[in-house]
Amino acid sequence: MPSTFAPPEIRRRPDDGVREGDHGNGRRPPTDKRTGGNGDGDNWDARPKGRRGPRERLISARIGLFFALAADLLFFIAIVSAFFVSRATGHFDAYNRYVNDWLPISLPSILWLNTAALVLSSVTAEIARQGMFREHDALEEWIGLGRPLSKRAGVWLSLTLLFGLLFLAGQVAAWKQLAAERAHLAGNPSSNYFYLITITHALHLVVGLGALALAMLMLRKGRSVITRQVWIDCSVWCWHAMGVFWILLFALLEFGQ
């Protein structure tokens, strides 16, 4: 092959220092300083892949989450495409007239409040997430002097859960309100889609809430700092994604009908 070049790290790496079965766990946790995860001046290229320590685990979890979210995005893209197709579809009635049944539904204004709650929940989630990587506290927790990271994250995550539940309650209120106006799931094509979109999104949020709750559990049960960091980090990214999906879907429902 013409394209053979040996990446330099192979030669540079000292072969001795690495023990078999040492996956780098237990090293210093990654912090917002964005070093290799093992303090200043750490060159993680010097260790083989799979044993590069905590930050490697964090990245691995994030990348997987990213792929999963990309797939999930396509789930919603499929529904949104179907939305546009159905909005433009009609049929011929008995008199050979072309009819398009789509009647836009006016959305309950509580959805705006829900959206605000969801945005707030993302803000608190982000505070929790970034807090997990504050260097001073991370080291303190790693050494075992206390649990400043977990405590703070727990508080912010509870707030997130609260706002998330508020959002879901608000969605239920919106469904009730629409039902009172006789806009049911099995009604006009537009309400088919309204419910399809809001319900599938709500199911996603329930999963997201479950992930956040699990992450909070891991704050107590997770044995190493990095485990707690990974759980918080990924569940929060997932939560953000659900928030972004909602804003896009809401915009579609509000302005796209």
Binding site: P7, I10, K49, E56, S60, A70, H91, D101, L185
Partner: protein
Amino acid sequence: MRALRLTHHRTVGFAYLGISLAAVAIGSFLSLIMRIHLAWPDRIFPGHGVLKPEEYLALVTMHGTIMLFFVMTVAPLSGFSNLILPAQIGATRMSYPRLNLFSCVLTAVAFLVACAAFFVPGGAPIGGWAAYPPLSASALAGPGQGLGMDLWLGSVALFSIASILSGVNTLTTITLRRCEGMSWNRLPLTVWAWLTASLLAALAFSVLLAALLMLLSDRHLGTAFFVPAGDLINGVIVSHKGSGSPLLWLHLFWFFGHPEVYIAILPGMGLTSMVLANFARRQIYGYRIMIATTLLIGLLGLTVWGHHMFVAGLNPFAGTVFSAASLAIALPSTAKVLSWIATSWRSRMQLTTAALFALGFVSLFIAGGLSGPILAQPILDEYLHNTFFVIAHFHMVMAMAATFGLFCAIYYWFPILFGTVLGEGLGKLHFWLTLLFSYSTFLPMHLTGIAGEPRHYAQLNGMPGPAAHLLATTMPLQRHISASAIGLAAVQLVFFVNVGLSLWRRRAISQNPWSATTLEWIPAGQALQCHQAPCQYSPDSTSFIPQWSTASENCPERE
């Protein structure tokens, strides 16, 4: 001992192979009953009686579903990627072992749910593997469209989730767990194929999942996504309001369906490239281009779904666009064929069974692929759609080619899976008989298709009218096809005997019996590092450079 851990990728890989072995047994059994019924419609099945039309349709549906999902997707992609991929990229494990086990269990559950459809009142669904609405949206449409259809939808939904998750796992593993020196352009083509197929799986199955949820909601929650206004089934008006569109389902389904067929074939393509190069002792012709065509096939595969819908009421202009895109996808496919031919041409290839199966893959891919561009022209498809010509097309290019890919994988990697080799004598016998019977089964289907034999038809003779007369003339050919199909199934016994004998004898072999260059054959104890591009053999065929060797120390070829 280590391999026994449940979350170990080899355990999971073997479990996937187990699932698809059970599935292929059931799926083939169903197909044989169909073939016997088509050729000898009055035949009485012991313990059952004559096959009723709705039972025939249930067989068609379940045969397609089981084969496409639980064999052609599970074995090449999930099964072999777990068994081989980590070793090939020099990883010690998959990125998410527990998630991996979970998707495997989910796949098994999905399979059981699908099989359960046979045993519920009404039996299995009868709408084909594409489950077109409006008939799939209502239990009135026939036996099997009630609970059976619900189970089918549930099964495919579970399968979709499992496939998305295992796709995510594979993608992450390839992105992050390549060993030192395993740069992207040193990845074996098999890994590129698994990468592309996993990407397609993660994306396509998400779309299918959305469509399935919508169809379930049409069935049970009274929505009308796919049910047209005034839909009349068996004299009953099913939907009063709304104007759903069955065509919408077709769009969503085939957006998934076309990539799905490439998911089934891509791993075989990658393996064929590697195996041909290995036994020809030649570099792969146009390695970079082969990587590009793999990705391009995946990418273009997402844009051609409309070629399944030419006669479904698609706007003719849209048909033209889809037709052009479909012809475009023939280009990277042809580039691959050319590379395979260029790699093997005049190479004095060592014709092991694995190499033979790779060559068989090429042969079937060409023979079946040729009918693709014919079908991809709306004007021709107008006649050929829903005939056995299509059946012939995809059984050659997908079903048989992918099966040959699987056999190639089993013969080639048997030493890695079971620590010994399969017997070459029986292997070659198995290959030649399988090749003969595949062609003998599926080539004549082109003819019956051109004669007008429709898909999903329980009976071809004994009906009035000129068209039926034409169909009845195909009966001798039908009997030939059925006999060949039985032969095709029967000669697989040779394979199982071979596996049994080889495992019993356990012939001792060297660490790297095929003198292969990729990392899964690395000697035990050697550091997992990659120093070379794959498939480097010296021009005079005296030595080769495996990926783990530093450039100076070439391994001498063994005789």
